[in-house]
């Protein structure tokens, strides 16, 4: 791939407005209660692959949304403190994650093709257009 080539991912309409940002790719599922220190926006579960990393301002990419109701509140509160991701891309989202994104106005998409877990790497620059069902990925050089 050349430095400027973009990979395009497509899928059904997501929620939220178009945004862009740097990718942070989690190899495992994510929940705001189980994995995150919501006071700091840093992944706090010691066994999580991204332990110690902040999700603030990132395009967070993850295979599956986990967790319960805390997740549905967390994004709004994180966003109010500038600690929310700008967008979230899941293989499979669950209701609480989508409800949270709708409340907070955070862009969220799932079931994209090709699978973002296979084409996005941490540090890539990602443009997310949820309504159009389109994501563009530019490789970090």
């Amino acid at each position: 791939m050349t430095a400027d080539a973009a990979v395009v991912l497509t899928g059904h309409s997501g929620v939220g407005d178009p945004v862009e940002g740097e990718a942070l790719v989690s190899p495992e599922g994510f929940s705001a209660r189980y994995d995150l220190d919501r006071a700091t926006g840093v992944i706090a579960r010691e066994s999580h692959a991204l332990h110690g990393r902040s999700i603030a301002g990132k395009v967070f990419v993850c295979p599956v949304a986990k967790g319960g109701f805390a997740t549905s509140w967390a994004l709004l509160d994180l966003k109010a403190r500038d600690l929310a991701p700008v967008a979230m891309l899941f293989g499979w989202a669950n209701p609480v994650m989508v409800q949270g994104a709708v409340l907070a106005g955070v862009a969220l998409m799932d079931r994209l093709r090709p699978d973002p877990m296979e084409v996005v790497r941490t540090g890539d620059w990602v443009r997310v257009d949820p309504k159009a069902g389109r994501v563009e990925v530019r490789r970090r050089s």
Partner: protein, 413 residues
């Protein structure tokens, strides 16, 4: 999404601003999941505590109240952060208690019953087959779906408020028969013998099926499941796997037969629970050190049968001076335990029963800081899963071993 005349009226603002905003959020979520319509619900169970919501969440509810929000279906509340009777003694922050007090005033003004329990189905709500619900706590949802045959998605905090305000939810996921069918076969060659064993089973299966859209079907069951066993199984599947549905062939209402549970489709995968696997699920939690700081029972809230069992195990014994023993339950079960003398037995042993709270939302980081908590022993597979995110070393053990850990102050490593 197709809207009825009433829904169109809500969207036009004829039922006030809060209902309009609520319906807009529901439509956005529903369209994401391909819902074609809304479906009326008969109750809502609110999940929001001051700590989970944060200041922004509390401000959201303040605004709803200021705009005159009123719940239009019977609405109950989930567990809180503090038991107002003992939070000071436990060393929980005054600020959190103040916010919880405020939140309680707001939801009562809007029309909620402040039940403060994550086992509404064991105290005052009786979901029935085919009934559409908007429940928020994942353990209540999976119980309603799997055991009662009622229909609810995880209507998390803001979504549970939205449903209470509009009286309906988007019809996707667990409201649709095809999403409730089994996807994976689980063959039991190891039998759960206690409620915590059912939690161990939920842990084992939930670790392998980590997607809301998967539904395990258990076969080979050689024992009659207890109500508390099903509570622990559901809570663990929801916690480890984010699952909202399961079937026990021959026991739960949508699984009279294997064919019934899978709707005639072949399983997408198969899990075999071999002899010894349930024990191995417990032992997958390894203690960093032998000293136990804290022993907790009651995620989800204890039933009166569980309180009685604990009173029996603690009778005439004494909790170690280095260890705190905490039970959490609903106000209804606590009142019964008081009347039957179980509370006295448990307190005489040095234990404490907190009401309307659940440990993982009892400001666990604050308590850890204040008391130096690190090692927590529990018979709840769910609590053992969740509390690791708050800086604890969680140890999941059968009930009697947990009581022994409280009394000796030690746990086998």
């Amino acid at each position: 999404m197709k809207l009825t005349a009433e829904e169109a009226a809500i969207l036009a603002g004829h039922r006030g601003k809060p209902a309009r905003r609520a319906l807009e959020m529901q439509i956005a979520t529903g369209e994401f999941f391909g819902a074609e319509e809304m479906v009326p619900v008969t109750s809502a169970h609110l999940t929001g505590d001051a700590e989970s919501m944060g200041d922004a969440g509390l401000a959201f509810v303040e605004e709803l109240a200021r705009e005159g929000a009123r719940f239009v279906v019977p609405t109950t509340t989930n567990s809180r952060n503090v038991d107002f009777a003992c939070y000071r003694e436990l060393g929980q922050p005054e600020e959190v208690a103040r916010k919880e007090q405020r939140l309680r005033e707001l939801v009562v003004t809007m029309g909620a019953i402040p039940l403060d329990s994550c086992t509404n189905y064991q105290s005052i709500c009786q979901p029935r087959f085919g009934e559409h619900l908007a429940w928020g706590d994942t353990g209540t949802v999976i119980w309603a779906n799997a055991v009662a045959g009622a229909r609810s998605n995880f209507e998390g905090g803001p979504a549970s408020y939205a449903a209470a305000l509009t009286g309906r939810v988007p019809a996707y996921g667990m409201h649709l028969p095809e999403c409730r069918l089994g996807t994976h076969l689980v063959e039991l060659r190891d039998q759960p013998r206690s409620a915590s064993d059912w939690g161990a089973l939920g842990c084992l299966v939930g670790r392998q099926l980590t997607n809301y859209w998967l539904v395990p079907v258990f076969t080979g069951l050689g024992v009659e499941p207890s109500a508390d066993g099903l509570k622990q199984l559901g809570a663990a599947l929801a916690s480890y796997g984010s699952l909202a549905m399961f079937h026990l062939v021959g026991s739960t209402p949508e699984a009279r037969t294997l064919e019934d549970a899978f709707g005639g489709r072949p399983p997408r995968g198969r899990i075999v629970v071999e002899p010894g696997d349930l024990q191995r699920a417990y032992r997958s939690f390894v203690a960093e050190r032998a000293e136990v700081d804290l022993v907790v029972f009651g995620t989800p809230h204890l039933s009166i049968f569980e309180v009685r069992q604990l009173a029996g195990l603690l009778d005439g014994r004494r909790v170690h001076r280095r260890t705190m023993l905490l039970l959490t339950t609903s106000a209804e079960v606590k009142a019964l335990a008081d009347r039957l003398g179980y509370t006295r037995t448990i307190e005489a042993a040095g234990g404490r029963i907190a009401v309307g709270v659940c440990y993982y939302i009892m400001t666990p980081r604050e308590l850890a800081r204040r008391h130096g908590f690190r090692t927590i022993v529990t018979d709840s597979a769910k609590l053992a899963n969740i509390i690791g995110g708050s800086g604890y070393n969680p140890i999941f053990r059968p009930t009697a071993e947990c009581v022994d850990a409280a009394v000796t102050g030690r746990v086998a490593r």
